[in-house]
């Protein structure tokens, strides 16, 4: 009896590994920056280019950084959802406008609405490279110490917002208040 169970057991183990592996999406490259410090940057603001914004400015607050561009189709779809999330006021959303023309970006926001507290212009994409961005949209959740706690590759769907972002935001706020 045992001699039949052993190959069966090995087969089941292989099936489990295959099930896990084949259900993964190879286009989702896990970020090595999770639980590491968010890279510093200082960039001009999109709407007021003579002002700058830096990740340091957000110390002490939990915030979301959303990488977007007017040339990005999926960002258009995500935009509606971002407007809702911003309206809920759960966490402030800041935008990183990636490799875009300022006029196009402003026109885009004008047409679709602006969920961002502010956006910064990363015209050359240098800051994006520091953040390991390889496409748009990508979204980071950063805590009060400037540590990246979560990265979403692709749109932040309602499910992702409900199940991943909100609980983490609430947990971080609780931890922050307790200090």
């Amino acid at each position: 009896m045992l001699r039949y169970l052993i190959p069966l057991g090995i087969f089941l183990v292989i099936v489990v590994f295959l099930a896990i592996g084949l259900n993964r999406d190879p286009s989702e490259v896990p970020s090595p920056l999770i639980n590491r410090a968010a890279p510093t940057f200082r960039l001009p603001q999109l709407k007021e280019p003579d002002k700058t914004f830096s990740a340091e400015d957000m110390r002490g607050k939990v915030w979301v950084l959303n990488v977007w561009a007017s040339w990005c189709g999926a960002c258009r779809h995500e935009h509606q959802l971002l407007l809702d999330y911003a309206k809920s006021g759960a966490v402030p959303i800041y935008g990183l406008n990636l490799k875009d023309h300022r006029e196009d970006a402003l026109a885009w926001l004008g047409e679709l609405g602006d969920p961002y507290v502010l956006s910064v212009s990363d015209i050359e994409g240098r800051v994006a490279i520091d953040y390991g961005v390889y496409g748009a949209p990508e979204t980071y959740l950063i805590d009060q110490n400037g540590t990246i706690r979560y990265k979403q590759i692709g749109e932040v769907s309602r499910d992702v917002w409900q199940d991943k972002f909100l609980p983490l935001v609430q947990q971080l706020n609780r931890e922050g208040a307790g200090r």
Binding site: V29, G125, Y131, G132, G135
Partner: protein, 161 residues
């Protein structure tokens, strides 16, 4: 104004418009063939994360162009290949390398197949040994020994004949 001046003014206006309509990123190909060769060799071993089946050397994706520019600048600044690889893996993880580095996270990837091979061989040897142990080793009885010697004697006599 005369025709030549008008033409010159027109030319200047055209040049002015062209210089304004530029893409955000200036692509500066270095005139240093050593660096270009080094860049080519290094980027052949890097994966383009956007078109994941292409190398960073071949891909025409925007990100690939940007990363090649970034690598080129770092090479010009005197960074070694190892430093550049560390720069990229710190931001994009091991996946950007076609040959992942041997770190505790990739031990399973690198050594797993050999471990499985050894485990398989161990099971095989144990199985063979088990089967062999089942064969009873009995010494020859007196009758069998006499017959064996008879056959051997007959065989050797035939050869000498």
């Amino acid at each position: 104004m005369n025709r030549a001046r008008l033409l010159l003014l027109l030319l200047l206006c055209v040049m002015a418009t062209v210089s304004v309509a530029q893409v955000p990123r200036q692509r500066v190909a270095t005139d240093d063939p050593v660096i270009e060769q080094r860049l080519h060799n290094l980027s052949q071993n890097l994966r383009c994360l956007v078109c994941q089946n292409e190398t960073l050397a071949d891909s025409q994706a925007d990100l690939a162009n940007d990363l090649r520019d970034e690598i080129r600048e770092q090479m010009k600044a005197g960074k070694s290949d190892k430093e550049i690889i560390n720069f990229l893996t710190a931001r994009y993880g091991q996946f950007i390398l076609y040959k992942p580095q041997v770190t505790p996270t990739t031990y399973l990837l690198w050594f797993g197949p050999f471990v499985l091979l050894l485990a398989g061989l161990a099971v095989l040897f144990r199985y063979i040994k088990q089967r062999r142990d089942l064969i009873p080793e009995k010494p020859l009885s007196a009758e069998e020994r006499r017959r064996a010697e008879e056959l051997l004697r007959r065989g050797s006599r035939k050869e000498t004949a």
